[in-house]
Assembly symmetry: C2
Homo-oligomer: 587 residues x 2
């Protein structure tokens, strides 16, 4: 289908951002003209409260307008990537953004170097809203080096290319052969082949993929070792005690939180994962589980169809306990056309929620009437409602919530819908499918990711000790941890240890543990909301309104779930255990 053929009501309305190119150009020129004014404050913007406020006014004006301009072209290009006019907008915006970034480099440096002046400014009532912004810069002071060294570190970062090289490795696999016919194999189709009931097909596809990873293991090892050395470099020069400490510092988190999550998932509640594997083996009726069996679905896929009206009906029902105001946001999203629903030629794949302080939080998706489309929609609506509430309740400077907490709002929504559907399921098959979806997603984020996190932590520690990370070392460690992870319940294929090279997240410097936190938090919150826990609902809505006005851990605590306390994990993992029991009953 082509975009022109789609009814306007299924497309988002970007004219709410700029009704015409004239309006767009007006803002563009304002930003262009104001950027040089920012630079005039270099060396003096902390001299007095008045000058500071003057500067911040221009800063906010420029920064907000620039975000709005960028958002417009980013959204427009995603549905019309071939449109040359929009491409030109994007290119121009990118140049303008660079100009802007360069013009305010001094801001962070000068705040960092003038701690006393900055703190003095915060004492003025009119500057209170800048507390977070300034403190988040000042807390880096113990890790800030001389200007000369900072420049060198910055330049060094540009010359570190391990991840780039990793991304450039494109493996090709021999085709899978079924009944003499060749089938194309890549990382996408592998997922399908691994669901094939025929063991020979699964094994064949698995081996044809991972033998290539084995073949190129020296290259993969070299880039992964490189990535670890890079993380170690940045943590050491900035005088952190470990790469872990350096990485979580950004999120105002201490290594203890990371370690707690690993302890909970990989030790305290690991037994439930082993139970999941037992159930898997029993349901599949297999004597042994092999590495290539682990993506076999335990239930039949749902083929229910949902119109958009059906979808919204379900969604409204799912979020009912969040109250009228929350419902109204979703109505707004629908009625004010925040959403671009349908897949069409050239449209960007996937789904997202994206917006800024001065635009609606738009949603791009590909609604195809299956149950997954409904889950995707409620997921993205979770993000959009979070953005809407933060933008409407926080000053600009404190509105933009961080990745660390971003997935909570979306996953809570998904869980609310799951809980509703499970409760209302009419057939045994439906209940099986939904419960399986729930436990499968939980084990994917709350067991698999902590296993990955432990692996990347071992690698970082070894690199920090100057231990070499050869292909043998990297795969041996992965093999050992896999044995521990699967608790002897999976017969590991001789190639399975090479699968560590297929996971890009190991290049993201301690990223995956955030998935676990997000999901633990969301499953607990959703369950309480589903059960009508008034206090939880109020706390959660407050959390959604809080943007980035506090640290991530403070925000979660505000939401009623303190990630530093064991209780949260107990509730989340025991919830998984309950779902396992439910599933056992219906299977």
């Amino acid at each position: 289908m082509r975009r022109e053929e789609i009814d306007e009501k299924f497309k988002w309305d970007l004219s709410k951002i700029y009704p015409s190119m004239e309006e767009y150009n007006k803002d563009f020129n304002i930003v262009k003209n104001e950027i040089p004014k920012l630079e005039e404050y270099k060396g003096k913007f902390l001299d007095s409260v008045e000058i500071f406020l003057e500067f911040m006014e221009i800063y906010e004006k420029v920064s907000r307008k620039l975000s709005k301009l960028s958002m417009y072209s980013h959204l427009a290009v995603d549905v019309e990537p071939g449109n040359e006019e929009i491409q030109t907008l994007e290119a121009n915006i990118s140049g303008l953004s660079n100009e802007y970034s360069n013009s305010i480099v001094f801001m962070e440096l000068e705040i960092g170097k003038n701690e006393e002046k900055a703190k003095k400014i915060l004492e003025d009532e009119r500057c209170k809203k800048y507390t977070n912004m300034i403190n988040s810069i000042l807390r880096y002071n113990p890790h800030r080096l001389s200007d000369e060294t900072e420049e060198v570190i910055n330049m060094a970062g540009n010359a570190m290319t391990a991840y780039n090289t990793y991304k450039s490795i494109k493996l090709e696999y021999e085709p899978v052969i079924i009944d003499g016919k060749e089938y194309f194999l890549n990382d996408e189709t592998l997922r399908e082949f691994l669901k094939n009931p025929d063991e020979n097909v699964r094994k064949q596809a698995y081996e044809k993929v991972y033998k290539e990873y084995k073949k190129f293991s020296n290259i993969f090892a070299s880039t992964l070792e490189g990535a670890m050395k890079e993380d170690v470099f940045f943590s050491k020069v900035r005088k952190f005690n470990s790469p872990l400490e350096a990485s979580v510092f950004d999120d105002e988190v201490k290594p203890e939180l990371f370690n707690k999550i690993l302890k909970m998932a990989n030790e305290t509640y690991h037994k439930y994962f082993l139970e999941y594997l037992d159930i898997m083996r029993e349901v599949l009726g297999k004597e042994n589980l092999y590495s290539y069996d682990l993506r076999l679905p335990l239930v039949k896929e749902s083929n229910s169809k949902y119109t958009l009206d059906d979808a919204f009906e379900l969604i409204f029902k799912a979020v009912e306990n969040l109250g009228e105001d929350y419902r109204k946001i979703i109505e707004k999203a629908r009625d004010e056309r925040w959403i671009d629903y349908l897949p069409h030629e050239n449209k960007r794949l996937g789904a997202y929620s994206s917006g800024c302080y001065d635009t609606n939080p738009y949603i791009l998706t590909s609604f195809t009437q299956d149950i997954e489309s409904v889950f995707t929609l409620i997921h993205e609506l979770g993000h959009s409602a979070h953005s809407y509430l933060s933008n409407n309740n926080q000053e600009y400077i404190n509105s933009d919530y961080r990745i660390f907490v971003a997935e909570v709002a979306s996953t809570v929504n998904e869980n609310l819908l799951l809980n509703l559907l499970i409760h209302n399921a009419k057939t045994k098959e439906e209940k099986q499918f939904l419960l399986y979806k729930k436990i499968d997603e939980f084990q994917g984020t709350c067991y698999r990711q902590p296993f990955f996190a432990e692996y990347e932590n071992v690698l970082h520690e070894k690199a920090a000790n100057n231990e070499g990370l050869s292909a043998k070392t990297l795969t041996d460690i992965y093999d050992d941890l896999s044995e521990k992870y699967y608790g002897g319940k999976v017969k590991l294929h001789e190639y399975s240890k090479y699968s560590c090279f297929g996971i890009p997240h190991f290049y993201y410097n301690y990223y995956v543990y955030k998935y676990t936190i997000g999901n633990c938090v969301a499953s607990v919150i959703a369950k309480r909301i589903y059960n009508g826990d008034k206090e939880q609902i109020e706390k959660y809505l407050n959390f959604l309104k809080s943007g980035s006005s506090k640290s991530p851990v403070e925000l979660l605590t505000l939401a009623g779930v303190n990630p530093l306390e064991d209780n949260l994990y107990k509730e989340a993992f025991e919830g998984f255990k309950q779902d396992l029991e439910e599933f056992k009953k219906v299977i």
Copy 2:
């Protein structure tokens, strides 16, 4: 053959280094005990001439003994890599070397920071011999940064891994099929296939290799771009004007010299290379030359056999004009058993000359009685004579000549032998073979390397301008330069541009131009010596005695060939032109 089965007279005599393990251990313990004494001079070794001399006495003692110990185990392990006792020696020496390096890190830092004190010390007559050592440190001062930054740069270097990743890429090729039979193809056997008279075989092998380079071109591009970014990083942080300037600074050379070489080879005298291609096409009787034709030999290989006695007779004759003293060094090499001649099981492949101030300059080779073995022997004897003369005429601190000039002595010897053999050739085939060898080697170092040098220079410049180096960019540039290099006389295969990814030298930061200088210089010197030019002979022998007592360019000028002057190149390239004419006459 096993080493035990070989007569002692064909093996080198390492007992001249240490007659027994007792002697070895004695030195080992001396070094071990003296290293801590070095550290006691930290912060004070420049305080007075007396303290400085005291320190240097220990420094030289430790450093010389350590070199001797390392040399012994390095040589011993190369002929007996499986010997566990020697492996243990190597491991222990490596630990001791690290201790030593760490113990004298302060030396360079403190000289750099105390320029005045250091210069004051040099005024004392007893310290004159340290002038070079100290000046070579002081000249880095404008490029030295704060201790903090230097440490960061050092750490950053450890996290830059592009070359490591490049080295880990091991391509596999489909076998070459000739008459239905499969033949193993790798980078070694490719060279043989490219000599095959059957065009189909050459083309097949060429395509099977370079299609793999094409397939992995994104990875290669990423590592090559990474290497360029690394070179740019180091040159920028050290405030050089360009990566070229930074790289040649080590050799006390200015970019002008590099540019001159490129101008001479790629412009002024490029016409002779095109003539060489014309001759090639004519001799091969082909209408067109293709990329896979360029390694086709123009002449039949020689199959003359030479005993060691024959070889030495030829060698003595070849170096006759260098005089009695030079001959005596070669006699010493033979009679005092500096040389390990024969190939055998487990022995290291290849050939080298290696020694230190307190050992003979040993030679490892694989003498197989063909003419190439004789050339290899005289080549390595050239290095050994250079080392012997430098060690016997210079203080320890000024004895170790640099890579930049190292290949002159060996290549002069090869050229002397070539000139002699060409002059004495009895058959037309012999003369063809020898002249071809000469012109082929010249074009390989004096045309091909400057072409590579231009390529790497373009890449460095683009990287310095923050231009991205994608696979397309890298191969397009290589394609354009190849067209220019071959002057339209070779039909470039569509894969030929991917051959840039097979050349490790592009990771060596402006290395290859040194080959060109070495060969230009050597061919000119050898010709003059061959012609009995007394002044040249004396100057050359003085050069061989000079070690590292002057800068490379000064040393070459001392040798009678100033690389900054056009004359040298005129003489070298016109010599090539003459050889071409000679070759045309006999073919």
